[in-house]
Symmetry: C2
Subunit: 493 residues, 2 copies
């Protein structure tokens, strides 16, 4: 099987003839990318000593450094360890119009776990599943994802390590760990196969390149990058045209039924409210401190009709919590950095550290509410979102985060009363505008979208809590009570 | 001295009459703030048990949570500890049009060090100096900075602690540490006095409020906030008009003389270059690894004329470094999140962690080059910037970061040759545009600005390295050589 070195190698002359053509193409690519409505993710992974770092450096040499960034994942920081595993990858993503080269990517982090036992292998598979889901999300949102695996045979790996060791300038690159890795070549190759099989999908396929001949390897990576980019530009070069939203039809009527069946007549007098409020505030305070002591974070999600009292409910809630431990994230118009990322990026940004709390005043569910109804995304986008949102919350829950989702429900008449009241009161007037009145006219369409959301994103460990909110005092107390009970249940469970 | 409780207290009726007026004012303030070209920083600090958390919660109740965020600094994370001390505060700053309430602020972090020994006190004073500088920067850029100190007498503190302990709902808020703090009241009060004296400046003054009466305290904070905001809106409500840049006159001609004296005739043949390049790349590799082993970060700053070869020099440099350990930050047009922060915020963002490297392809010096000459900031802005930039770099150096600043110098003729060459070569054409030609016509004005920069920001521990760049090979080798020598010197020093 031994081949003489140099056999089947790309001649230097041919390499030197092809590189300038490739470089010109890559630079044109970068110019086109600047205006493109998508980002480019290029993962360079591969066997030990296959030259991942060299390839990354050579690509950086060919490309204009403006618009491209090279990223690698070192040992997780405490800020990263205190969030779900994918958080560090989310925060590293390039915006539209830019490209990131990932040396090793998230795949190398998974492989570095070097699983042996069945339970380690099960965890490995779980992390591969998360990775596959992550890449599916990105690719569905239009990102160009390229994953290159540089393959080096065991023989070639040995030769390469010996070659590196021979020169004083490169000997530092070979460590005892590399030789250990070489002795375990077959096992590592099997793990890498397993990894690639689990994460090879349309939109995020693996492309394996033989790395024995560095010139062929370099050209192979560069030409693959260019070909994929050109094809992607043809299909994704313009933002997808969004059809006018059609008549809103329920996907899962059980949610709407649940919504309409909610009684809204509960009342609580000021005296009753005050008699109970402090007790529940005290309980909530003890509950959140108990959660913090166990390093559990809490995420509150407040959704509801305009004027349903989300802000008031949040203020009551936070009055029981140390101001240093929570953040309220009002979800309004995204910034341009947010707009040029995946729609979940802006929520991942604010996932709390261990023992801390984030309160989202409106949330990721905007995707299946306002964005569905106003045509801010395509129909496939919002239809896919139910699964994406569930998975996002599953990642939070899987990491130990307590997720509390509230829908504050209001009758249409009560909303009208509150709109009119807001227009009367000086310091409330800014809270009401033409858009609120417009949304109100679409009440029935929203009801259907809310129903679908309730039905399709109600999960055992991240359930929806429907709160009758025609009476503000009743609603606020309900939010307190449910929060206390759910936190207690999560800490016991 | 004992006063009966309730004496001189604000009557509840008066409080309830004044709060709605205040709230209306605060909400109008928030509406006005949304469109204002500045951010609002409100620090609520004070003696133990003075009700800082209560005040923060009450303010949150009065304000609309949209547009305001409450922040507090817990123990520094490893990502924070690996950067200069002020990094964590920089990354927390609100953008224009938004407000942040800091519970305790950076001041409480400094006070929490509880310095005793002379050396601890000297370090305390140094952190106060950094804080004062930080606040001066922010305020000079137009931010509204309010710092409230809630004062509680020793007697009132004792009463408050006993009162909290008496109720089961609030007893949790009193810890043994609070009583210890109470016993050391006088010493803590002296430290707080020292802190306030050192950080009390025009633009960022301390406002002391007696916290014994919670109602008076709450109103005092709210009314102070509103009054300061209204005054600030009058003076800073519109972005400062920028006068057309006047004739460019050198501030410190020694820099221009240094620039013009630089010989540009050095040449290096391809053979000479190749003979030496690999030796220096090897040395550089060993140098950066030695720095990383000691946890020292490196920041490279590349400035130079258009077409001076910054990108090429960076590519040679990075070819000796593991791609996982550096990031190249091309400094182009800021994003809107960057534009709505202090101009240094976008550079603070990318300060590397311990042992890692950031290469800035253009940098903060844009403030005294393009922004000075094109009128992107006011004359006081760029004149002040020399000190600000020096201080920024001093913070990096003070934290152990090795700062390497290069000015790649070119003759005007050579630039012309390169511009024309770029227009000829396919994959270089995108690098040249009308703006480059426009800048070229302002060569002499830029020369003066560059000279001033060289003279005014050349510091012993962050010196400028002038590199003759008419010959690319010579320039690249110079950058490698100087980098090696400077890193070695920094590790020895």
């Amino acid at each position: 099987m031994a081949k003489s070195r140099g056999e089947r190698r790309l001649p230097k002359r041919e390499y030197e003839a092809r590189v300038p053509v490739l470089r010109a193409g890559l630079v044109q690519m970068q110019v086109a990318l600047q205006a493109a409505p998508f980002s480019v993710v290029l993962v360079i992974a591969g066997d030990e000593a296959s030259g991942k770092g060299d390839v990354v450096n050579i690509l950086n040499g060919w490309l204009d450094p403006r618009g491209v960034e090279t990223l690698a994942f070192h040992e997780a920081t405490d800020e990263e360890r205190e969030r779900p595993p994918m958080w560090r990858y989310w925060r590293s993503l390039p915006p539209h119009g830019r490209m990131a080269i990932y040396a090793g990517g998230w795949h190398s982090v998974a492989l570095a776990e070097d699983p042996h036992s069945p339970s380690e292998l099960a965890e490995f598979d779980e992390s591969l599943r998360r990775i596959a889901h992550f890449e599916r999300l990105l690719s569905a949102s239009g990102a160009l994802i390229m994953k290159v695996w540089l393959r080096l045979s065991k023989r070639a790996q040995r030769e390469r390590l010996l070659e590196l060791e021979a020169s004083p300038d490169t000997a530092w690159r070979v460590s005892p760990a590399d030789w250990k890795c070489h002795r375990n070549y077959d096992r590592h190759a099997r793990l890498a196969d397993r990894m690639r099989a689990a994460t090879h999908r349309t939109g995020a396929p693996w492309h394996v390149i033989d790395a024995e001949d560095p010139r062929a390897r370099n050209l192979g990576v560069g030409e693959y990058l260019l070909a994929r980019f050109r094809a992607h530009l043809r299909t994704h070069g313009r933002a997808a045209a969004i059809a006018k939203p059609r008549r809103v039809v329920s996907l899962r009527p059980s949610g709407l039924r649940r919504l309409l069946a909610l009684p809204l007549t509960q009342r609580l007098s000021q005296d009753e409210y005050e008699a109970k409020r402090d007790k529940w505030l005290g309980r909530l305070n003890r509950a959140v401190r108990a959660a913090a002591e166990r390093g559990r974070s809490i995420v509150w999600v407040f959704e509801g009709w305009d004027a349903a009292g989300k802000g008031g409910a949040i203020r009551r809630l936070t009055s029981a919590i140390d101001a240093r431990d929570y953040r309220v994230i009002p979800v309004a118009k995204p910034t341009d950095e947010e707009k040029s990322h995946h729609y979940l990026w802006r929520f991942w940004r604010h996932v709390p550290r261990a023992g801390l709390m984030t309160i989202y005043d409106r949330s990721w569910f905007g995707r299946v509410l306002v964005e569905r109804l106003e045509g801010f995304c395509t129909e496939p986008d919002w239809q896919r979102a139910y699964v994406e949102l569930n998975d996002f919350e599953a990642q939070l829950v899987g990491h130990g985060v307590i997720v509390l989702k509230f829908w504050l429900h209001l009758s249409r008449d009560e909303q009208l009363r509150r709109f009119r009241d807001r227009e009367q009161v000086d310091y409330k007037r800014h809270k009401i505008n033409a858009e609120d009145w417009r949304n109100r006219r679409k009440w029935q369409a929203y009801e259907i979208a809310v129903g679908d959301m309730l039905a399709l994103t109600h999960r055992p460990r991240a359930p929806w809590h429907l709160v009758p909110a025609d009476n503000k005092r009743f609603a606020r107390l309900e939010v307190l009570k449910i929060s206390c009970k759910q936190i207690a249940a999560a800490l016991e469970g």
